[in-house]
Amino acid sequence: MKHEIIIAGFGGQGVLSMGKILAYSGLMENKEVTWMPAYGPEQRGGTANVTVIISDERISSPILSKYDCAIILNQPSLAKFEDKVKPGGILIYDGYGIINPPTRKDIKVYRIDAMDEANERNMAKTFNMIVLGGLLKLMPVVSTESVVKALRKTLPERHHHLIPMNEEAIRIGMEIIKEA
């Protein structure tokens, strides 16, 4: 199996770190992984995106023309990547700030109001993990257990007390994602 995923949004939303956790989770399952950020001078407020590939076999290009799944967290990213989802593929978007929703009919479109949910529950810092939960509900790319293992491995020990909150965020994401 191979999953080719793009995550795109504003810098500061946790786009790159969400991709990193996904890639680490793939590593925990002995999969082949690549994590390729669009690196640039932009930080908070600019656009950010990362391509994550998780595969059973050796990965050729870390840079792709088309994706199995696009996770879109702002309007400019939707404009950039809606066309690049493979026919039959999945597009997940957060409704917050999206004025013009996706229009393609040959892909499966899902909405996850993770930003609203995170604000309501005072969980703004785990916003990206809510989105990740939504992805894992639709595409079990990696298991939740692997994500928790990855968090243990990547977070410094002083932050390990935050892991249950992240698990909770994943669970919420799995609950609130819905067909658009």
Binding site: K20, A23, Y24, L27, N30, E32, V33, T34, W35, M36, P37, Y39, G40, P41, I59, S60, S61, P62, I63, L64, S65, K66
Partner: protein, 359 residues
């Protein structure tokens, strides 16, 4: 013990590999997209474990001259930078080549010319393989296409540099430096002792008590002697060309068309090859791993079976000149490149293949 697989950026892999293989000194100056090399070394604090010196110099020029000094004592020393910074190092590199000293230089290329952009590029191919600095010298140039090769080529680069007493360069780009992949780091080994260095590097400046002094210099004012020194260098370069060509061929056996690409472009081209083969186009990929010495005979051999060659680079056409020299006009050779920090996606390469070769 099972090998430990870790996930890290190409730049981080360079730093970790350097510590593990017992490098004595790193001298650098930060520049995007390779700053993680120096950052990782600073985080790891190898001076507390292996005794490796890590120093942020006042400039790239200072860093390469610290490398010159360290290399003269037989130590394993290195520097890293990105394109504009590597331009600044060229004088030092020429001196090091002239004095026949081993060292490792890493260039994680970004778009130019000038200060350019921080995005990936391969536009320093000419600078690396055709000089860069002044004089008739050559750099051993290794082009990694994965994070694993970033780690592996630190060791290989030093091995070749010491074997031939010649500077070696890892020529990577922003894609390979910034992406994260799985990597198995080299086995840790201690730094060489002073006694080992004296034994292995009889040419080095190690203190001359009881022997004639070793003079490390690139200066020779007598042209007759200087010509002999140049001829000696050329003989050495011929030996490297004969012995150290490295390349990878993927699905070339039945290929009717050939893509030649190095580094990140080889990865993108491999995906393009997969797409093209799904459409029934028989394409193979030839990836030079050493850019100098260039795998000239191997490309010439493979070219005999194909109808056309597409050279894919992140520049306006540099390695294509070496490919053309290799095939001696026996096969049409075309170029596809994006410039100034733009990285093509695999479909663009497939389109170029169809448009330029198949028509």
């Amino acid at each position: 013990m099972a090998e430990e697989v870790v996930l890290m950026k190409g730049n981080e892999a360079i730093a970790h590999a350097a510590i593990r293989i017992g490098v004595d000194g790193y001298f650098g100056y930060p520049i995007t997209p390779q700053s993680e090399v120096l950052e990782t070394l600073a985080e790891q604090k190898p001076w507390e474990t292996t005794g490796m010196v890590v120093l942020q110099a006042e400039s790239e020029v200072a860093a390469i001259n610290m490398v010159y000094g360290g290399a003269g004592t037989g130590k394993m020393v290195m520097t890293s930078s990105s394109s504009p910074g590597v331009s600044l190092k060229q004088e030092g590199i020429s001196y090091i080549a002239g004095a026949e000293l081993p060292c490792l230089i890493v260039n994680v290329m970004r778009g130019g010319p000038g200060l350019g952009t921080i995005q990936p590029s391969q536009a320093d191919y000419f600078q690396t393989t055709k000089g860069g600095g002044h004089g008739d010298y050559r750099l051993i140039a290794l082009a990694p296409a994965s994070v694993q090769e970033m780690a592996d080529f630190v060791k290989l680069g030093f091995e070749l540099a010491f074997k031939y007493r010649n500077p070696a360069m890892i020529l990577a780009d922003g894609v390979i430096g910034q992406m994260m992949e799985k990597v198995v780091l080299p086995e840790p080994r201690p730094r060489r002792t002073d006694e080992e260095i004296i034994e292995q590097c009889p040419w080095a400046s190690t203190g001359c008590k009881g022997r004639k002094p070793n003079v490390i210099t690139s200066l020779e004012l007598d042209p007759a002697v200087m010509e002999q020194r140049n001829l000696h260098l050329q003989n050495k370069y011929a030996e490297i060309e004969a012995n150290e060509r490295r390349y990878e061929e993927i699905e070339c056996e039945d290929a009717e068309y050939l893509i030649v690409a190095f580094g990140s472009c080889a990865r993108i081209a491999q995906k393009a090859m997969e797409h093209a083969r799904e459409e029934g186009i028989k394409v193979g990929l030839f990836r030079p791993i050493t850019l100098w010495p260039f795998p000239t005979p191997e490309i010439a051999q493979r070219a005999k079976q194909v109808k056309g060659i597409l050279v894919v680079e992140l520049n306006s056409g540099q390695m294509i000149e070496d490919v053309k020299l290799a095939v001696e006009c026996n096969v049409p050779v075309h170029h596809f490149g994006r410039l100034g920090g733009i990285v093509p996606d695999p479909d663009e390469v497939v389109d170029a293949l169809k448009e330029k070769l198949i028509k």
